[in-house]
Symmetry: C2
Subunit: 346 residues, 2 copies
């Protein structure tokens, strides 16, 4: 591109030539190149992350645990029930049903895809990484409903398959089946759930990876300030932010209950309504939206975010383009990764 | 205010009366009341923080340590050298001179005032609280230049005054003079450095605490998006953010070196140029600005922030009003608190 500009410039200098159609192309290309450069300064492709490959034995064990309903009190749910790998790591429910009949969570289940790229886990950011996160739902009475760590460890110790898998993954330990190793292995499995999408190709320099409309949407996404929070490799997941900076969120989301967010665990007035900024990868497939799944429609979600966080009324064109841009964030994982290991073995 | 509106409303209903001057006043008051309500949803006065009063013996010990040059290798500096309580907790230098001749820090010394209200410490947020922070500079060769924890502990053990003060503050411990207790006591002292300013009065409901111009500035501060990061009780200090969201910061700050921020300790591509969002209390007195003290003028700092973080050219009126608003964030601490205890005793 720079070479092309130089040639055009030289042409002008040497021959005083002027070709409108050429100029137009250059301008357009310039704008596109600027957009790419801007995007590259705000986001990173997954390939740039230089992540340590997790140990395949731990991943294999983690995958079994992820799909195993033994990890719930009555055997009614597995991690995959709420974080279904066949539907982009979510169950598309507002709140997810728990193991015990009639129980239900109180915050929307976020996708496990790309969660390993985030700086914190849970809607209030209370866990540092996917390993720490994995332990939470297992012991939660309205989720996996396991009484305590010991109950689960003892249960798994009775299964020959797990005796084998834990020995393979943690063979250097005297007593490999521990709660810590359970969550560690689930985390290892989650660390491979980071598929690349078209937006990664774009960030790597392939300008054709995004359509014109998607590029317009990317530009609106940048210019309207979404990137203040939704930046980095996961387009979010890096910080906590007040949901409803300019207006009470529940007025716009029509939430049934007012969730106080971080305040619930910190008891600090200044933490009211602070939630983790969710990552946006695969967003077109992870409805319903927000911490309480209060909004089903993605365009409406974009509109509400403009109002709540920037106090602007995004135009319909902007909303439409931004929503189109989100299509480029879609990324699936190979069938063999998302297939339950128990299906294979049965 | 609501009562007044009701009366006016009733008046209109019952008598069809219309008094233009009254309506105007109501409208203006409405706008002012809305601004206050908006501000109250974004910021908190210090009085709302419900903070635990630190133990007075620890505070007293911490104050001695804060002012004591024994806490540096050659005895050339104390905490107060860079965080001078007589000049709003800073030294107004770009970078601060260290204990060893010719040494100098590489990031601007932030104020200790109100630091205890922040969620993290240091420009890269690497310490969780003021206690953890206090240990950093003491052992840094270009700051206090103490070789190791033991050196300092042994040094203080030889001082009768400290034998007394540590015994008072940590008398329940067998060996009260430890490095941990040194930093703990300094932190306790810093926890009382949270003076209230006029903006606190305003947030408590006193609309006259701010001038008209300051209120205009507050409104611009909110409407132009500064509050996305500068919110809460400290108007910042809650999160890390990329400095230079829309443009490379060094182009605008004319920084001599490019500091990579959080990346330096995390080695993650997505952490490049992320710094802690500084709190803005006492900002009119804490020049020069930014992590590298690259800009002296506050109005210019505001202008640059608009450009870098929101990609807007703030009007001169907006800059002027926002800068005026910052005056209301000024708060001093009583003379007896900021006077060196060694002056008293000598």
């Amino acid at each position: 591109m720079k070479k092309q500009l130089l040639i055009l410039g030289l042409c002008g200098l040497l021959f005083g030539c002027k070709n409108n159609s050429e100029e137009k192309t250059t301008q357009k290309d310039d704008g596109e190149y600027e957009l790419l450069e801007k995007a590259q300064s705000l986001f990173q492709p997954i390939s740039a992350m230089d992540m340590k490959e997790p140990d395949p034995d731990k991943v294999d064990l983690g995958k079994h645990l992820f799909f195993d309903t033994r990890l719930s009190g009555e055997g009614n749910i597995s991690c995959n029930s709420c974080h279904n790998l066949n539907t982009y790591g979510v169950d598309n429910e507002r709140f997810s049903p728990g193991d015990a009949p009639g129980t239900i969570g109180n915050r929307n289940s976020p996708t496990v895809f790309h969660a390993a790229l985030h700086h914190m886990q849970f809607w209030d950011g209370r866990a540092e990484d996917v390993e720490e996160q994995a332990g939470g739902p297992i012991l939660n009475p309205v989720e996996h409903n396991i009484k305590d760590e010991e109950e689960l460890v003892n249960r798994l110790k009775e299964v020959d398959l797990y005796q084998d898998l834990f020995a393979k993954a943690y063979g250097d330990e005297e007593d490999p089946i521990t709660f810590e190793n359970i969550t560690n292995a689930i985390g290892a499995f989650e660390r491979i759930l980071i598929p690349e999408g078209r937006f990664d190709k774009y960030l790597e320099g392939d300008q054709d990876a995004l359509s014109e409309k998607e590029k317009k949407g990317l530009n609106s996404f940048i210019e309207s300030g979404c990137i203040t929070c939704h930046s980095g490799v996961a387009l979010g997941g890096q910080m906590l932010q007040k949901f409803g900076l300019y207006h009470d969120y529940w007025i716009h989301t029509e939430s049934e209950d007012i969730d106080l967010g971080l305040y619930d665990i910190s008891d600090k007035e200044s933490d009211k309504y602070f939630f983790k900024v969710p990552g946006l990868r695969n967003i077109v497939h992870t409805a319903p939206y927000f911490h309480d799944g209060s909004v089903d429609d993605l365009a409406e979600t974009v509109r509400i975010m403009g109002k709540l966080q920037r106090d602007v009324d995004l135009s319909e064109e902007e909303v439409d383009n931004i929503t189109a841009f989100f299509e480029s964030l879609t990324a699936d994982i190979p069938d063999d990764v998302k297939k339950s290991p128990f299906e294979e073995e049965e």
